[in-house]
């Protein structure tokens, strides 16, 4: 008989710092914080090896509330800081916390470049379709016509769809969740954490002060089953309160359509089966919007390729074989001696 010492996982509350949480009462950020703490607990994470890096915004306050390492940086640049951290120490578990303003307005470029490079960290984008911290201006994800202090006649910009953008930038892991669905969110965060590369997760987050209920059209209890489809690898893309709706691909019109099993001769075999390694399918799912289509939730895409830092250190390791030291380097090429 062998004795195995089981190291006890830290509890979710062990990941809470001693700082008072200062989001507005009722803010969706609380639930996301909880899901993050749960994820770390359930995955047996160690505080000292975990780093939260954020930009500026309400969402970007999250690192202060974690008992791990944290760096609250400047607006929009968190992915660049995180890249530097991973280049120094690839073994750290790094989480980038950002918002729709931080990550898609001022920081859009860094986000895209991190995604294409596939540096191994998680990006959690808290999408509340507003700039919460600066008091509610419309953001790059706000729907056209949004009235806000800076758009009193309604915003006129067409919004980004964060997951579509991420896939367009070459992201290798793209997922979506809803703030209040803490359990699902936790599972999604676990997948993101496990993914070797940049894992992008968009979270629909309710800003109770400046944009209350902006996602109610598909998150409200009475519509959520009919207007959300949870993507599960290998499973047909079915949804609906009666579990009889599904997604089918129409090859002539080259588009995705919602069908009902049993209507117009539709059977279960017609329904698309989710393949999270198919980028085309992921892009189709990411682009769907209520009310015509359900919002796709869960891991839309996951495709493993080499991480950036593994390649950096791979090249270094290869070069080190037989490499010279710096004293040799500065003597390479033509040198001459002046005799005394």
């Amino acid at each position: 008989m062998t004795v195995t010492t089981k190291i006890e996982n830290l509890k979710p509350t062990d990941f809470a710092s001693d700082q008072e949480v200062r989001w507005c009462p009722g803010c969706g950020d609380y639930a996301i914080l909880k899901a993050v703490q749960r994820t770390l607990s359930e995955e047996g994470a160690q505080r000292e090896n975990t780093v939260f890096v954020s930009g500026i915004g309400c969402s970007s306050r999250l690192p202060y509330y974690m008992s791990t390492y944290g760096f609250h940086t400047i607006h929009g640049r968190a992915p660049a800081f995180a890249t530097g951290i991973k280049l120094t120490n690839p073994s750290l578990d790094v989480w980038v916390i950002t918002g729709d303003g931080d990550g898609l307005s001022i920081g859009g470029n860094h986000l895209m470049h991190a995604l294409r490079r596939n540096v191994n960290f998680q990006i959690l984008l808290f999408n509340n379709e507003t700039y919460g911290l600066t008091k509610g201006q419309y953001s790059p994800t706000s729907r056209p016509g949004t009235r806000s202090p800076s758009s009193p006649s309604g915003s006129i910009d067409f919004p980004f769809m964060p997951c579509v953008l991420a896939l367009g930038a070459g992201a290798n892991f793209v997922a979506r969740g809803v703030d209040t669905a803490v359990k699902d969110l936790t599972e999604t965060f676990k997948r993101a954490r496990a993914f070797p590369g940049t894992a992008f997760v968009e979270i629909f987050q309710n800003c109770i002060v400046y944009n209350d209920k902006v996602f109610a059209n598909f998150t409200d209890r009475d519509v959520s089953l009919d207007l959300q489809v949870v993507a599960t690898h290998g499973m047909p893309l079915m949804f609906g309160a009666e579990k009889n709706r599904g997604l089918r691909f129409d090859p002539t019109r080259v588009q995705i359509e919602v069908v009902v099993i049993g209507e117009n001769g539709v059977t279960k075999d017609d329904i698309l089966v989710h393949d999270e390694t198919n980028r085309t399918l992921a892009a189709l799912l990411a682009a769907m919007e209520p009310p015509n289509h359900p919002m796709a939730i869960g891991v839309l895409y996951s495709n493993q390729v080499d991480t950036y830092e593994s390649q950096v250190y791979g090249q270094i390791a290869a070069a080190r074989n037989g490499g010279a030291d710096l004293n040799d380097v500065i003597r390479r090429g033509h040198t001459w001696r002046v005799e005394g």
């Binding site: 710092s17 951290i85 120490n89 470029n109 950096v312 080190r320 500065i330 001459w336």
Partner: protein
């Protein structure tokens, strides 16, 4: 030297005239290989024991049309039996491979200087491209110069005939012909160049041998042609140079190596994050080649990402370094502010270039000093150092890393496009003999908070992710002096602002006192400079001293904080003259700090100061004083 091909080995037909210092400029089309020609000449001069300094002048265009004036590439070599510090004000020999090269370089030539010309290239077509209305070889315009118009192309073609090259390839050898002639003229050894050619074209020996033949032919031409203007050539005796192993280096090389070495001395990984920009890119290129030495380079998507990645790297326990030129540094300033307030080590290298905005990217300027010292929002003090020669770039890079890690602060290291590209001989140091300054990360949880400070340096504790028990959060918000938690307390902000300032100003207590580079420790006039003007000021002050003028040269490497004795030292001079390649920046800082009536001598042409320009200013100043 065994196997030496120096012409002095063969008995000279007459006596060589001995010269103290010579300045040659090689100029030709971008495709003519002038940079290689000049470098080889410089190397051969180094090997005979001259002191030397060189300066390349590339065209701004990537590949300008052949024969155009804006496609001219030049390389100036100053070699001497004395110690020299600049590539020389005015060449006394101009090797002009085509009309455009003559056109664009003639004005710089010493009056009465020598012009060596490839007569074959002065075709109507080339004259038109150079916008000559008359052939300068046929009108009076070159009167007063010693003109050697030679059939260089034809002579080269004849020399390389045996190797069966195409006409284009044959003509490509003409730079070696010109080099051979110059080597004869100044009595240099061809062997290193021949070795180099054979190594470079190892896979195409016919090319190697054709080039060698052209080199030898040019040399033989000098020896045999009995050229009217030339006599028996010159010799430049060896200079007194400290013994040891040397190489030619540009400031980009020494700076890059200094960073790598500095990181090693600090016992840290170097993470160098940058975005290409002229004239800074070479530092990235050189460091990207040091993978075997464990250097991590990161080509970021822009300058902001680069500095942020460098800060992230420092946060995680590397020494993060970023590098750019003025417009790129402008973009980094917001993030540098974070590094100041987060009190993380960081080195920001600025290879200054002519501005404002895109300006003249390939030309040098010293106009980012204000940006370095004052160019951030809020009270955001950091360390500013300036390198003053290619060799000094090495030491300054090491010092930057030492101060950044010791004081947990960003350091701005100023260099410029001139230092980046100019080259000089460098006594190669033994890295193992350099002083180390290994960083010890904080690991003790007792009483830890991230902004706890060292009593003496005021540096905060550097505790890196991965350390159990020291988990903490930092950021750009103001933090409490005693707990490091976010604080909006008014008195605390005052205190933190003061402690950040004191930490930096306190560095004045350890850096070396300001020395006088040359001249009296007090007197009627000090010429005070910083950065790449070192050589020109030093030579001018030497020259003035030889004229009997009482003038000192003070060169400031530590621009913020300045050495403790600076005010007192400067107060000992009646007049202070501050030459700068800008409209007056150091001069304003000195006036403000020490209330001394320092005056500027300003040049904003994209060109380095000539020794003469500073000398004249010294004369004027002291003339007025007498």
């Amino acid at each position: 030297m065994e196997g030496s091909l120096r012409s002095s080995d063969t008995p000279p037909k007459g006596g060589r005239e001995s010269r103290d210092s010579v300045v040659i400029r090689f100029a030709g089309d971008s495709g003519d290989g002038m940079q290689l020609t000049g470098s080889q000449f410089a190397l051969s001069s180094a090997i005979v024991g001259n002191d030397l300094s060189t300066f390349p002048d590339f065209p701004a265009e990537i590949r300008a049309p052949a024969g155009s004036t804006f496609g001219v590439s030049a390389f100036q070599v100053h070699f001497s039996a004395q110690n020299i510090l600049t590539p020389g004000d005015e060449p006394e020999v101009l090797v002009a491979m085509n009309p455009a090269a003559l056109k664009t370089n003639l004005a710089d030539l010493d009056p009465g200087g020598m012009i060596v010309i490839d007569r074959d290239s002065f075709s109507d077509k080339n004259l038109r491209k150079a916008r000559y209305e008359e052939n300068p070889l046929e009108d009076q315009s070159l009167e007063g110069y010693r003109v050697l118009a030679l059939d260089m192309s034809r002579l080269t073609q004849a020399a390389v005939k045996p190797f069966g090259l195409s006409q284009k390839e044959s003509l490509r050898c003409k730079n070696m012909w010109a080099l051979g002639l110059m080597m004869w003229m100044y009595d240099r050894d061809r062997k290193p160049t021949i070795d180099w050619l054979r190594e470079k074209f190892a896979n195409r020996s016919e090319i190697a041998e054709a080039n060698v033949a052209a080199l030898n032919a040019g040399h033989a031409f000098g020896e045999t042609a009995e050229l009217p203007n030339l006599g028996y050539g010159y010799s430049v005796p060896r200079a007194e140079i400290a013994p040891g192993e040397y190489r030619a280096v540009t400031g980009s090389e020494t700076l890059a190596w200094g960073l790598a070495v500095g990181a090693q001395l600090a016992d840290l990984k170097l993470v160098f994050a940058s975005y290409p920009i002229t004239p800074a890119s070479n530092i990235l290129h050189i460091l990207a080649g040091l993978k075997a030495q464990g250097v991590v380079t990161f080509q970021a998507e822009d300058e902001i990402a680069a500095v942020c990645a460098a800060i992230g790297a420092s946060y995680a326990g590397s020494i993060g370094v970023t590098s750019s030129a003025g417009p790129g540094v402008a973009l980094k300033t917001e993030a540098i502010g974070l590094a100041v307030v987060a009190e993380l080590p960081l080195v920001v290298v600025n290879s200054q270039r002519s501005g404002p905005s895109t300006g003249m990217p390939t030309k040098a300027e010293q106009s980012d000093l204000f940006q370095a010292v004052h160019g951030r929002n809020a009270d955001t003090p950091l360390v500013v150092l300036a390198a003053h020669s290619p060799a000094n770039c090495f030491e300054t890079a090491i010092e930057s890393i030492r101060l950044a890690t010791k004081y947990m602060t960003p350091v701005m290291l100023l260099t410029d496009g001139y230092l980046a590209n100019a080259s000089e001989p460098w006594l190669i140091p033994n890295i193992e003999k350099l002083n180390t300054f290994p960083v010890e990360f904080h690991t003790n949880p007792d009483g830890f908070h991230p902004f706890m400070r060292d009593n003496e340096t005021l540096a905060r504790a550097w505790a890196i992710p991965g350390t159990p028990g020291l988990e903490h959060r930092i950021g750009g918000l103001e933090k409490d002096y005693a707990t490091s938690n976010i604080s909006y307390d008014p008195a605390n902000h005052q205190r933190m602002t003061e402690v950040r300032a004191e930490k930096i100003s306190g560095i004045a207590n350890e850096i070396p006192l300001q020395e006088v580079a040359y001249g009296p420790k007090q007197g009627p006039l000090a010429v005070v400079g910083w950065g790449s003007t070192f050589g020109a000021i030093e030579e001018a002050v030497h020259a003035a001293a030889e004229e009997g003028l009482e003038v000192a040269h003070i060169h400031i490497n530590y621009l913020n904080p300045m050495p403790k004795n600076m005010g007192g030292l400067l107060a000992g001079y009646k007049d202070i003259l501050v030459p700068e390649m800008n409209s007056g920046q150091l001069v304003k800082l000195l006036r403000s700090a020490y209330l001394l009536p320092a005056e500027g001598l300003n040049k904003v042409t994209g060109q380095p100061f000539k020794v003469k320009e500073i000398l004249i200013a010294i004369r004027t100043k002291l003339g007025n004083c007498k």
